[in-house]
Every structure is written in structure tokens, then in C-alpha cells.
Assembly symmetry: C2
Homo-oligomer: 118 residues x 2
């Protein structure tokens, strides 16, 4: 069956959350895509989000160099969430950490799991 991106379920703002995970299984970040960002991502294999703050396409790494090459594009049972396996160049997080999920809550305390990359 051919994949039809218009069958994805976008929210009332026309967006769908997209998880980026690297080949080791680490979850790097979550951002949002609209229909056109999904199409661009599949066509170019460069992961492309929709920036809600800038209201513009955001080709990950285009300015920072921290690009994401699409390795596998997956979606969930309800077709309302995306999971992209990516090859991440450098840090995914704007704090210069490998992953945006660098904090955990353990025994009620905030624990930092990783430092910024140098």
C-alpha cells in the first residue's frame, strides 16, 4: 500500500508531533510537523519540522549544522504521532546536549543526565 501523508491525523493547528530517535535507541527530541513538512522530510531525507514559534519550516541543522538524516519514518496506530529514526549530526538540543531529554526526576530531585557537547 502506498503511503498517503494526508491520512495522518493532524491536530486542530494542522500539526503532528514527531519524535527523533537515533540508531542506538536514544530519544533525541520532539518537534512538530505539518503536512508539507512531512512531505519535505520524506522527499529530501532531511528532517524538516514546522517551527511553531517562528511559523516557518525548520530544516533541522540548516543553520546550526546539527542536521538529521532520515533513516526510517514510522507512525503510530492512531496515525497521530511520528517516529523518525535519524542519523544525528552533533547535538540535537539547542543547549548543545546530544538529547533534549537531559533531565530526570529521581526521588523528587532534578538530575542532569548529560553535559553539553564540546
Amino acid at each position: 500500500m502506498r503511503f498517503d501523508p494526508t491520512t495522518l491525523k493532524f491536530d486542530d493547528k494542522g500539526l503532528i508531533p514527531a519524535i527523533a530517535q537515533d540508531e542506538t535507541g536514544d530519544v533525541l527530541m520532539v518537534a512538530w510537523m505539518n503536512l508539507e513538512a512531512v512531505q519535505k522530510t520524506l522527499e529530501t531525507r532531511k528532517v524538516t519540522y514546522w517551527s511553531r514559534s517562528r511559523q516557518a519550516f525548520w530544516i533541522k541543522g540548516e543553520t546550526s549544522g546539527h542536521a538529521q538524516k532520515l533513516l526510517d519514518f514510522r507512525y503510530d496506530c492512531d496515525a497521530d504521532c511520528l517516529l523518525m529514526v535519524v542519523e544525528q549530526e552533533g547535538p540535537a538540543c539547542h543547549t548543545n546536549r546530544r538529547s533534549c531529554f537531559y533531565r530526570a526526576v529521581r526521588d523528587g530531585e532534578v538530575v542532569e543526565l548529560m553535559k553539553p557537547m564540546v
Copy 2:
């Protein structure tokens, strides 16, 4: 620093997306939590979502038996997305598959990555 769940950024519906990942790194599902669901999850270590369709708390596995025991609770740089490492009992997906992300798009075709568990 003590973790204060009210510092998380909930959306205009009072919700935050929560990814469940197992110890092997597989992403199992994404659902939503409100502030009270976050608090219940941290207190009980039983992952508890807010069901948008039923508008009710959803203690994962309470009726199906496919519970999620919280192993680690993480959150991202913007504090607007959660990542829970869980011990998953049986399938996470309502289709009886281990993960909700059982479909990929490869060369434009939908590929099924896993079968329902028996």
C-alpha cells in the same frame, strides 16, 4: 533541586505529550498527561495518562493488564514533553502489538514492522 511539576509547560488544553520507551530503547507509545496525571505517575510509579477521548484518567493496563511500571521520568529542554522509561507488561498498543509504532514508510510503501503478540 526539587522537581516542581507545575513548572512543566502544558498546552492550551492543560496537556503535555508523554513518550513511553522500554529499557531496550524501543519507543512504545505516546499519550498525554495533565498535571494530576504527572503527579499520580510519579507517586504511584504506575504510568497514568489523561484520556482525551474519555476525558478521564487512564492508568495504563488497569483494565487490559498491560501496565507500565515507571523506571525513569525525564523531560526535555523546553519542559513541554515527557519521556518515561517503563517496564511494559505485554503489548503497549491496543492492536496487541508491542509498540504502537508498528508501521514504517519505505520507498513510499507502508511496511508492517511487527505482528500482534499472541
